[in-house]
């Protein structure tokens, strides 16, 4: 059938085949990152705008590196959203950028649905680099890549995602993506940090008892406690959170011998993870995830920009 997406906004619009295509190309491209000259000329002449309307260092630099290694021309256009001090609406900003004749817009915004809004006002492709607490599809893809590289497959794996599910855009993409690839997903959190309908995301199980779930899973995905996104103090203290939902050295013994630990970064050491687990030589793939981010995003750029008569399935 071939890859026919113009945008990467909603991971649920991608099939298992689409996702595997991206992961396999990411693997091929990982070789480029090992070279002395870490660059291929593939996307020469394509212009990509990184539009980051809320603070982000990691995701933005990962995108930027990926763009540069694929030889895209990139500009960064930050800080403008409807609520910005400039007072220009996101729609007007996008119309302006569209007049620059750009090929792809990578957008991070604090509002859910901002990429969909932007896509209505540009002829360029749009990549969601995180919208509010909705989705973060490239994060999901790099997570899948890391797990796939480590486990050799995604089908039949049991993945526990632990922590602030309710405010997590990572979860918004990762849970459906894991389901598309045939994994089983268990969410672990206090009810104050769960969305109203976890089943809608695709979660198979929901639990508030971390120690019961740990022995059952192949992958433990620890979410960051996003202090900046928490409203109304959903748990009494970080100390108690660490006690109930932190992945600690003591919990290591509950895990399967080959279980791995993922985390989207940046880590709050001592809250969701202790240093023993964060730096665990065999379990932790946290730094592999960072590397996977570059390869996966290079692959996403390759496929989204692949050809002028590209369909617009999404």
């Amino acid at each position: 059938m071939g890859f026919s997406h113009k945008h990467l906004i909603d991971i649920t619009e991608y099939s298992a085949e689409d996702i595997m295509t991206i992961l396999e190309t990411a693997k091929t491209l990982s070789e480029v990152n090992e070279r002395r000259i870490k660059k291929v000329p593939t996307l020469q002449g394509f212009t990509v705008v990184n539009m980051f309307n809320e603070p982000s260092t990691r995701t933005r630099s990962s995108f930027e590196l990926a763009e540069k290694r694929m030889s895209c021309d990139t500009i960064n256009f930050g800080g403008s959203s409807t609520s910005s001090v400039k007072g220009e609406s996101l729609v007007d900003t996008m119309e302006t950028l569209n007049s620059y004749k750009i090929d792809l817009a990578v957008i991070r915004d604090k509002h859910a649905g901002a990429p969909q809004l932007v896509a209505k006002h540009t002829s360029a492709g749009v990549v969601d680099a995180g919208d509010g607490k909705h989705q973060h599809p490239t994060q999901a893809l790099l997570d899948l890549y890391s797990i796939w590289q480590e486990k050799g497959t995604l089908e039949g794996l049991h993945v526990a995602i632990v922590g602030d599910i309710a405010h997590s855009r990572v979860c918004g993409s990762l849970v459906p993506a894991l389901k598309i690839m045939g994994s089983t997903v268990t969410l672990v959190a206090p009810q104050t940090l769960l969305p109203p309908r976890p089943d809608v995301l695709g979660a198979d199980n929901v639990s508030s008892y971390f120690d019961e779930v740990l022995p059952e899973v192949d992958v433990v995905y620890m979410l960051r406690v996003q202090r900046e996104r928490l409203e109304g103090a959903p748990f009494p203290s970080e100390r108690e959170y660490h006690m109930l939902f932190g992945l600690t050295q003591a919990r290591d013994a509950l895990m399967r011998p080959d279980a791995i630990v993922c985390h989207p970064g940046p880590i709050n050491r001592g809250v969701e993870l202790d240093s023993f687990m964060a730096d665990h030589p065999t379990r932790s793939v946290i730094l592999d995830q960072v590397y996977a981010g570059i390869c996966t995003r290079m692959s996403v750029l390759y496929w989204l920009l692949g050809g002028s008569d590209n369909g617009s399935a999404s």
């Binding site: 071939g2 693997k27 000259i37 692949g306 050809g307």
Partner: protein, 195 residues
Amino acid sequence: MSETLQVKSICMDASEIERTLTRIAHQILEANSGAENIALVGIVTRGDVLAKELVGKIAEIEGVDVPFGHLDISFYRDDFATRLAPAVHETRISFDIDGKDIVLVDDVLYTGRTIRAALDALMDMGRPKTVQLAVLVDRGHRELPIRADFVGKNVPSSSDENVRLFLEEVDGVSEVAILQLPQETGAGSALNEGE
């Protein structure tokens, strides 16, 4: 797509391919005064199969296993913007190409654009001492100043034809066939080169 093309004629059969590869192996060794510094790099998806056969032939003749790698040129194509992103294959070159005499191997030499891309890809990976080119078939119609050092057979063809290598391990039969392209895509395009 090419499955539906009309076969006009077969210009090399399995035994001719076999004999030709043996000759090319000898020529490579002769030109490089032995196998000492050479390495073979085949362009996927047909050139790497031929390169592997050549490695076998060289081992038979010289008793030396020369380094051999696969090169995918998808990321170096010059027609990326005008077509759907091509399927990507893996590049696997596990040896250091610096200072080596690299023999690039491909099946059919046509416009020269694939070889241009392959040269760029190679240069991004290191600095070979020399790069030579071995092809099974040269069908003419060059669009770039590129020529092969070792040619299996010159097959004059028209631009509304496709010259294609079939290989036993991929296609179930080994032969070089001339195929008739459909009318509308006939004009001097590199789209079908090497595929």
